[in-house]
Each structure stands twice: as structure tokens, then as C-alpha cells.
Symmetry: C2
Subunit: 128 residues, 2 copies
């Protein structure tokens, strides 16, 4: 299911052999100029990358405030440990107080994964 010829372009996380876990965090910012958000988001990304079991992260936000961040982890225990991290818990509280109108968080188990990059040619990587 893996396609080892795919290069890893900026912003797309590695694809280790499944199973592993994805935390899908979809959020709506209340005001895109709220102070401190960007710095905190950058610091949380840095801190997450230092945690045991961290496999990667992908993130995109629309100009209208809707954003999706997916972080990948080896195990549910790794996700729980990161959730309990004191700085992360404080950041989440500040997010609810100051930065978000709403969010959804879904914890999922990655069962299959495919990748494609231009150098791979036009064929469908899922058809293999």
C-alpha cells in the first residue's frame, strides 16, 4: 500500500506502515488577528514533535477562519500522554477562552495509506 517512490513534499506528513493513529482537529477561529495565536500554534507544533510516538503533522487554514490540523501518532497511549502534557492542556484552555468559536476533535486509527507525487507518473496509486 505504500509507495516508496513518492518524495515527501513540504507539509505532507510521512506515511509509516499502518496501523497508526490520526488526531483530526477541525476548528473555527473567532478572529484571525487575535494576539498570541500564531506563536502558541508554532510552539505546540514544536512541542508535539518532541513527544514519544509523534509521527508527523499536517495543517491548513482558510482565510475565513476554518482550519484542519491532523497529527499522527504511534499509539493511543502516545496521544493520551500528549493530551496530559501541562503546556498543551494550558494552550487548549487558552484556545477555548480566546481563539476558537468551535472545534471538533476526532481520534482515528489509520488502516490504509497511499501517496502520490508528480514524479510517480499519472497512474492511480490506489489501483496497485
Amino acid at each position: 500500500m505504500q509507495n516508496p517512490t513518492s518524495a515527501l513534499p513540504p507539509g505532507i506528513a510521512p506515511r509509516p506502515e499502518p496501523p497508526y493513529y490520526a488526531v483530526i482537529f477541525t476548528s473555527r477561529r473567532n478572529s484571525l488577528d487575535a494576539a498570541g495565536y500564531g506563536e502558541m500554534a508554532d510552539w505546540m507544533a514544536t512541542l508535539a514533535a518532541r513527544q514519544p510516538g509523534y509521527l508527523g503533522m499536517e495543517s491548513a487554514r482558510e482565510a475565513d477562519g476554518l482550519g484542519i490540523t491532523v497529527s499522527y501518532w504511534q499509539s493511543l497511549d502516545d496521544i493520551s500522554a500528549w493530551r496530559r502534557h501541562a503546556e498543551h492542556a494550558l494552550a487548549r484552555g487558552q484556545g477555548r477562552a480566546d481563539w476558537y468559536d468551535a472545534y471538533a476533535l476526532r481520534i482515528s486509527r489509520v488502516e490504509r495509506a497511499y501517496g502520490w507525487a508528480r514524479d510517480d507518473g499519472p497512474a492511480d496509486p490506489e489501483a496497485a
Copy 2:
């Protein structure tokens, strides 16, 4: 695990009772002014929403070209059927030919889900 008091803000998909499935599609556009992409993406979203087992979709793209679209489905069979849909297969081929530099696609099983909205107050919905 569900929080029924959370309103459903624009762009955040419903949270039915798990388990269900998430298709995480992370892509890098090659050129953000390529003709036809927006129309095709809109049509695919419309068509996906008409398929059996469709539960919702979330999508965000950065100005630099990195985007994440997550679609939610009742079963793996529903995902396979949508994958085989003729118009969807054509659109994916055109994506590889014209619109993307690279993408990753991960199929995952949602095991837990939480939601929060401003009206819920400051408490952590995961702590319940």
C-alpha cells in the same frame, strides 16, 4: 463522548456516534490559478454528498497551496464505492495530470470524537 449541546458551525462536519471512517486527503496544488480546479472540487463535494454512507466533509487550503480535505463515511464499503464512481475516478486522474504536485490519502477509523463550541463554556469536553 458526544456533546449534544455543541452547535454545528459552518465547515465542521457532524459527529455521529463512532465508529465511522475518515478519509484524510492532504494535497499540494502545483499552481493555484490552474483552470477548472475550483469547479471540479465543488462538483466532487456535491457528488460525494449524494453517495450512500456519506457523513460529512471538512476542507481547508493554505494560500501556499497545501490543503486538507477530510470526508467521513459510514463504512469502508461506502468509501470503496465512492472511489469507483466514474466521475470521481476521472477527477482524480485530472488532479494528477493538472492540479497536484503531490498528495497523501489515508483511510482511518474514527474511534472517539469530541466537540466544543463557545456556548458550551470553558471546560475541556474531553475531560467529561
